[in-house]
């Protein structure tokens, strides 16, 4: 029996006009398909690479490795306060311009100019080539021809995005669509206490999004995280979303409240009862300047009193989770091959006023990690068996509608790209 009302069509999947056939996952097991995704998706879509708080001052910068798009970018706040992004490559001999110790590792800092380690070519914060060592030795070198290659960069609600497609004409805000618009005004800028986790995952990038875009798995895979009576109760109950929505390639699921705080203290582990916190966050929500009722319209879209959290998937690889106790979690999935990716999970809290609040946040962050470790290893187990190719038809249920949508959106992009490139005249 359904605990929460479904749309008139009877199912979310049919309501959102998504097909109901079994899926094959052939898009997650082939190096050739991954190469198509790199071209069709990662080289030509807005990608979230960080937050404005990471570059608070003029000259603050960070680098981001975008292996899926075969590049690294420098994101920097200029002397005019603007956020800009550049390909991280020196125009002289192609050395990576900004890195420390390990060329493939990301870095950050503050500087007045970027200086290449190789021959000391220097670039202003707005990318202009400012200094060439022994300039007179070059042949008619016009420095204005050799500035850093700029990348489109725009900011939505404090989240910095880049788009590597030089021909992109879609502004970020338009790309974020109705779901993005419906989140605008959420006080992300007040959530400046950051815990960021990173993991190397042995699966295709889409499979981890699949894992976090449905909660059907939670009562089973994570049952050991609950007290035994509670685990039995949750398994019997199963999982149903409050609401699902799709907007272009993006999507969201709105979920009920879980245990923050629980109705019955017997439901939670002793550490959770002692700290009044857990996976859903500290039970005592800090002041963010608005009540739950006043949250922007796409957050808790049904205004259900049982609401606990919303999980948004912004295509291709940015997930934003807004929790009722006024904190936020983001996930990013950065492919490194068809069957590996880097996962980043970042918790954003209101800075704690005292040591107890700090511990409440630690428990929420570490709970996320414990759950993530269970998810991450399951993914490697899934990837290896999908690659065996022994089964190629997998049924998905109505609570897994966002998975279908993600894979379909990715495949559409690949098909469109193939259509565009096959129709183009051959290079001479």
């Amino acid at each position: 029996m359904a605990h929460f009302k479904k749309p008139e069509e009877g199912t979310w999947t049919e309501h959102l006009k998504v097909d109901t056939e079994p899926v094959s996952y052939a898009d997650s097991t082939s190096p050739e398909h991954y190469e198509l995704e790199r071209e069709a998706i990662f080289k030509r879509t807005w990608l979230n690479v960080g937050r404005v708080e990471q570059i608070p001052r003029k000259g603050s910068y960070f680098t981001k490795e975008l292996d899926a798009a075969r590049t690294s970018v420098i994101v920097v706040r200029g002397t005019d306060g603007e956020v800009r992004a550049f390909h991280n490559v020196c125009r002289h001999r192609g050395n990576k311009l900004v890195w420390n110790d390990f060329p493939r590792e990301e870095t950050s800092g503050v500087c007045r100019q970027f200086t290449c380690k190789y021959h000391a070519w220097r670039y202003d914060l707005d990318g202009k080539l400012a200094f060439v060592q022994q300039e007179g030795e070059f042949f008619d070198l016009d420095k204005s021809d050799y500035g850093l290659k700029q990348v489109q960069a725009e900011v939505w609600e404090g989240f910095i995005f880049v788009n590597l497609d030089t021909e992109n004409t879609t502004p970020l805000r338009e790309y974020m669509g109705e779901l993005g618009k419906g989140i605008e005004g959420y006080p992300f800028h007040k959530l400046t206490q950051v815990h960021k986790f990173r993991a190397e995952i042995g699966s295709n990038w889409k499979l981890f999004i699949d894992a976090f875009a449905e909660f059907y798995h939670a009562p089973i895979l994570h049952s050991g995280q609950y007290m035994p009576d509670q685990a039995r109760r949750i398994q019997k109950y199963g999982y149903e979303g409050l609401h699902y929505d799709i907007d272009g390639p993006h999507s969201m699921v709105s979920s009920w409240g879980g245990i923050a705080p629980p109705h019955d203290r017997e439901m939670v582990k002793p550490i959770e009862a002692a700290l009044r916190s857990g996976l859903f966050g500290p039970w005592d929500a800090p002041d963010i300047g608005m009540t739950t009722d006043e949250l922007p319209p796409a957050v808790n879209p049904t205004r259900d009193p049982r609401w606990g959290m919303d999980s948004f998937v912004f295509f291709p690889n940015f997930m934003l989770l807004i929790w009722r106790p006024n904190w936020v979690l983001t996930y990013h999935y950065w492919p490194t091959s068809y069957n590996t990716h880097i996962f980043e999970g970042t918790c954003y809290f209101v800075p704690p006023k005292n040591a107890f609040e700090r511990l409440q946040q630690e428990l929420a962050a570490v709970s996320f990690k414990e759950y993530g470790l269970q998810d991450g290893n399951t993914l490697e187990a899934t990837q290896t068996m999908l690659e065996s190719g022994t089964v190629d038809r997998f049924p998905l249920n109505d609570q897994e509608v966002l998975l279908r949508h993600l894979h379909r959106s990715a495949e559409e992009r690949v098909r469109d790209h193939q259509r565009r490139t096959s129709g183009a005249p051959a290079a001479s």
Binding site: H195, K196, E200, P270, A274, R358, L359
Partner: protein
């Protein structure tokens, strides 16, 4: 010898090596400990977390003292150890094999 911790938390002195400032090091210490070691730490620290709540709520993060920092880091260790003691009954997350998720950005204290 003076306690490493604030007044009232002296019983934690034998566990001062759990006052570890980073999440990655705390988790590493957890998974390289035995369940006996984790239980011994938990059995002493958990009651002090419960009885120490009012003290912790009074302890401002601004200008936090060295003994209070140590206390906070030790209780951060207790948070991760609690998963082994209360849920898994083993140091590692079950079925987590060689996988790792490490904090790469976290508060200084």
């Amino acid at each position: 010898m003076a306690s490493a911790f604030p007044e009232g938390f002296e019983a934690l002195d034998p566990f001062v090596d759990w006052a570890v400032p980073t999440e990655k090091a705390r988790y590493t210490k957890r998974i390289t400990s035995t369940m006996d070691e984790l239980d011994a730490f938990y059995d002493v620290a958990f009651p002090l977390l419960k009885s120490g709540t009012a003290y912790l709520e009074k302890t401002s993060m601004e200008g936090i003292s060295e003994p209070d920092k140590r206390l906070l880091w030790l209780f951060c260790s207790l948070v991760t150890v609690a998963f082994s003691v209360e849920a898994w009954r083993q140091p590692r997350v079950p079925d987590s094999g060689p996988s790792a998720i490490d904090a790469i950005v976290e508060p200084a204290v």
